[in-house]
Amino acid sequence: MNQAGFASTARAVGARGLWRFLVSELKPKGPLLTAFNLISAPIIVAAAVILAIRFTKGLSSVTNLSQDVPWGLWIGFDVVTGVAFAGGAYVLTFLVYILRQERYHSIVRVTVLNGFLAYVFYAGALLFDLGRPWKVVNPIIGNSFGVSSVLFLVAWHFMLYMIAAFVEFSPAVAEWLGLRRARRALSALTLGAVIFGVTLSMLHQSGLGALYLMAKGKIHPLWYSEFIPLYFFVSSVFAGLSLVIFEGTISQRVFRNRISEDHRARHDDIVLGLSKICAGTMFAYVFLKVLDIVHGQKFGLLTTPMGQWYLVEMVAFVLVPLAVFTEAVRWRSQTLCKVGAALTLVGILLNRLNVTIIGFQWDIPVRYIPTVYEVVVTLGVVLAEIWVFRWVIYRMPVLSMPPTWAMDADAPPVAAPRAAA
């Protein structure tokens, strides 16, 4: 059923029409037996089964977590890395709505959708690690707020940011449902939601780093720094934008039939612009990291095995992608932009895992190594997010142009010719 069809049906039969429309939209729009589906579906089912065991028999039944290492892969990858990768949404909305860089407008929706889903799934994965997950609402409802904890800040920020990101994305939902008046009201909220969302993102990207400030002595000194919040914030800029470049490259192929002409035409320029921002922020990041080495007098540590591992992260996955992005911009090379983005994503993954897992309690006799169940659950979360992302792309105007009525509503008013007196 098309959008206009649903709008008229909904007026005619109300809730029943909406229900029928939603049920019809749940049906798959493409072939079911694709390679991606055949690989991802069993992993998602397996992850669901493992999570059922985890919630009935406890964390120790499926994870290698212990009192020494209470936060493992689910926090280190899903939450800490996933939220860094979601940073593209706040950077893009800041560029478009605050700095009025209109050339990035065509990718705002897809980036905000990505960010929103990343928070829902990856921040949602926080629940897996909570011993008593039903108490997650406590910081929100005031059953012992815990205002002295950084987790209080993170909990509120995550919740508020998810609302802000959904408000930013909601005009697309209204367009899908054909709800014109709702779209008008929701569109009017966009700028406020963006300002709120950007502020919250800056705070909680650094807030995730601040969580690890209390683990001084447990994190290897090369990764522990009083500036972790700053590093997490600055690196979230190039992490998020690299994911936008990476995701855009895949979307250009996978969703080529859904991509508007405008989106396709601007893609190359957008990628180059984002690469330039990545190069600039990475350049500043390198100096901030050097300052930490100097300030903490950590030069001696660089010759140790962990120091060499640190240098691998800094040279191969920060300095090299910085050089690749720089040359990509100079030579206007799309291929180099993609290589730079891929290296950066690996570098961010490595950095976050170094802080949260590899460099965490690095000197205890029994090191934490995630179980295969933890890995399967992590993969399941990522794949489930891709399924939902794909479902939305095929139904809502995210990569495609909005319906004509929505574009007409956004068009500036045309001055009517005056009638002769």
């Binding site: 002595g217 320029d269 600039g280 100096f287 100097v294 007098q297 720089t326 100079r330 030579w331 206007r332």
Partner: protein, 230 residues
């Protein structure tokens, strides 16, 4: 484990040095990032061999102004500019070209040079803004080189354009340029009359001086219209 406690002031001097190095290197880095060759001349030349549009050559490495002029990187912050294949085929062989002097400034989109055909002059717009650093004296002496190799030996001016990046957005490139040229072709097709013969419509090679072939009397007007210089 107890981490080693350092005197926080012991490294202040070195930290200031790091900050000063950062401040000194930042403008150089930014300049390097923006002042780019953009595309190696060899890659531009290689791309020139590709025919990306139906009737007209459209090298991939160049930027196109909607007034049918092009700009291609020729070193750090330098661009060579000229008129595109569509313009040279539309106008035909020029009897004379007029180029501004070295040192003069070009404003993007403003008339930059004139092409004289049959004693009538058509001005074409500058694709980029900047200072002229060189003129193609060979093209001045023999304008037919433009027809032979509009994107290579037929370049007209070399321009230093330090602010190119900010102005690049309105220039056309890649797929956008292809679509634009296709529209220009469509506009040309609409103007075609049977007396032009089978040269263009049937997949032949466009003749030089299409505008004159289409309309002997009003070719100048037609050329201005198709080149969007009116």
């Amino acid at each position: 484990m107890n981490p080693v406690v350092h005197d926080p002031f012991a490294t202040k001097g070195a930290e200031y040095v790091v900050v000063l190095v950062f401040l000194a290197v930042l403008p150089l880095f930014w300049r390097y990032l923006n002042g780019a060759p953009l595309l190696a001349p060899s890659r531009v030349r290689a791309a020139q061999r590709q025919v990306l549009s139906g009737w007209f050559h459209l090298p991939e490495g160049a930027f196109y102004h909607p007034g049918h002029t092009w700009a291609a990187p020729a070193g750090a912050r330098r661009f060579r500019v000229g008129l595109d294949d569509f313009a040279q085929k539309l106008l035909g062989t020029a009897s004379r070209i007029s180029l501004p002097e070295v040192g003069m400034r070009l404003a993007k989109g403003a008339p930059a040079w004139g092409v004289e055909v049959d004693g009538r002059r058509i001005d074409l717009p500058a694709p980029v803004a900047g200072r002229i650093v060189a003129r193609n004296e060979a093209a001045l002496r023999d304008p037919s080189v433009i027809n032979g190799d509009p994107y290579g030996a037929g370049w007209l001016l070399e321009v230093e354009a330090p602010r190119f990046t900010s102005g690049a957005g309105s220039l056309l490139r890649g797929d956008r340029a292809k679509r634009w040229l296709r529209r220009a072709e469509d506009a040309l097709r609409l103007r075609m009359s049977p007396e032009v013969g089978a040269v263009l419509q049937d997949g032949g090679v466009p003749v030089p001086g299409i505008a004159r072939a289409l309309s002997e009397e009003a070719w100048e007007e037609l050329a201005r219209e198709l080149l969007a210089t009116r």
